[in-house]
Amino acid sequence: MTDEWPADTLDVDALTRTGWHAVPFQQFVLKLHGRCNIACTYCYMYQTGDRDWLSRPRVMSPAVIRTTARRIAEHAERHGLPRVEVALHGGEPLLAGPVVLADVATELRAALPPGTALDLVVQTNGILLDEAVLDVLAAHRIRVGVSVDGAGGTHDRRRRYANGRGSYADTARGLRLLGHHRELFAGVLAVIDLSDEPVATYEALLEFTPPRMDFLMPHGNWSAPPPHKSAGDQDGPYGRWLTAAFDRWYGTAEQETEVRLFAEIINLVLGGQSRTESVGLSPVALVTVNTDGSLEQVDSLRSAYRGAVGTGLNVATHTFDDVLSHPSVVARQLGLAALAESCQQCGIRRVCGGGHYVHRYRRGTGFRNPSIYCPDLTTLITHIAGRVSADLASLAV
């Protein structure tokens, strides 16, 4: 028996009796394909020792797709949701092929109630993007986000095929094709590598003219720290890296693209809320459906410990409402109450929000800890708040 929060110690029934109620899911991550055509060095799916993907179907079957669409529609109708987002993920979702992509879009649109709009996006490594695939994505209004780690050298060091060859040339070719379909282009995601220069990384990504981009901190926690971090370390190298990238992005007279993390922090600094799980206290309202219909939490939790994502529920036999009462789902909707005591006392708590949930994990106590990235987040947030504050003061004169 462990004593980890929230899995072992959060009493959802008691919480419910106080009048608390869950926020319905509004983002559904469908693992359309359970394998990948590259092997990224930092991948939380395939490089963290969690091998459960080997026992699951490679592709989501038509039956699971149909049931999932029906469950999403049922959830949307029950909660009167005006909009839902469905993100096709993996593995590499484009490995499922154009027929499956078309099928999932068709099933979802047929199932959703008239008052619920669908935002459908696929998150891909871009390697399989060609004109035929883009035609299918356009026909079914599926927007495309691409994972690319900055300039070619960095990308090839970390995002490789099984034979060791880098994948940058193929991803870049896919991105250039996507650039001709602006209406489909959702943006690019890059995982930070401290060995790369931040401004050069930003500018390398900018060459693909994405409407949005985001920088992700590599997943890690107190028991398994990310690269260049150790437990108890007060240094904030990722914060400095991001601060340099922020200054390059923020210092332009005309915004070149939206950088999600920076835009969300500015909005929080202005008193708003965040739309990303990386910062802020907004309730996380997302759920994952695996290829076999298993209902799971956000899959980056795999970086914490084996089995962290599981709920024991399946879309064939359970509703999404059933998942809403899972302690680990509830924990991500509690806002300030989910934070460590030291975070609750911190001056930047509303902006930081304890950082990304998976970065708070410590074996034995669970997720009620500050982020392993606490010094980095403090560096970045105070810098952004300072710049915004100074600019607003000059506007008010």
Binding site: Q123, G145, G187, N267, G271, A396
Partner: protein, 56 residues
């Protein structure tokens, strides 16, 4: 920047009077985008939820 606020209902900075936004009509800087977004959110008053950071 001064002392950080401790009240969770406040922002770090004073939200400028909305007239300031009139000065930013032709401004496409990141700050102008941010202020327009914030004003839009204030006008809409819709709850915000957080999405998966591995999806953009």
């Amino acid at each position: 920047m001064g002392e950080l606020p401790t009240d969770d209902t406040t922002s770090f900075v004073e939200m400028p009077q909305l007239e300031v936004l009139d000065l930013l009509v032709d401004d496409d800087s990141p700050l102008a985008y941010a202020l327009r977004r914030r004003k839009h959110e204030i006008d809409l008053q819709e709850p915000t939820i957080a999405g998966h950071d591995s999806v953009i």
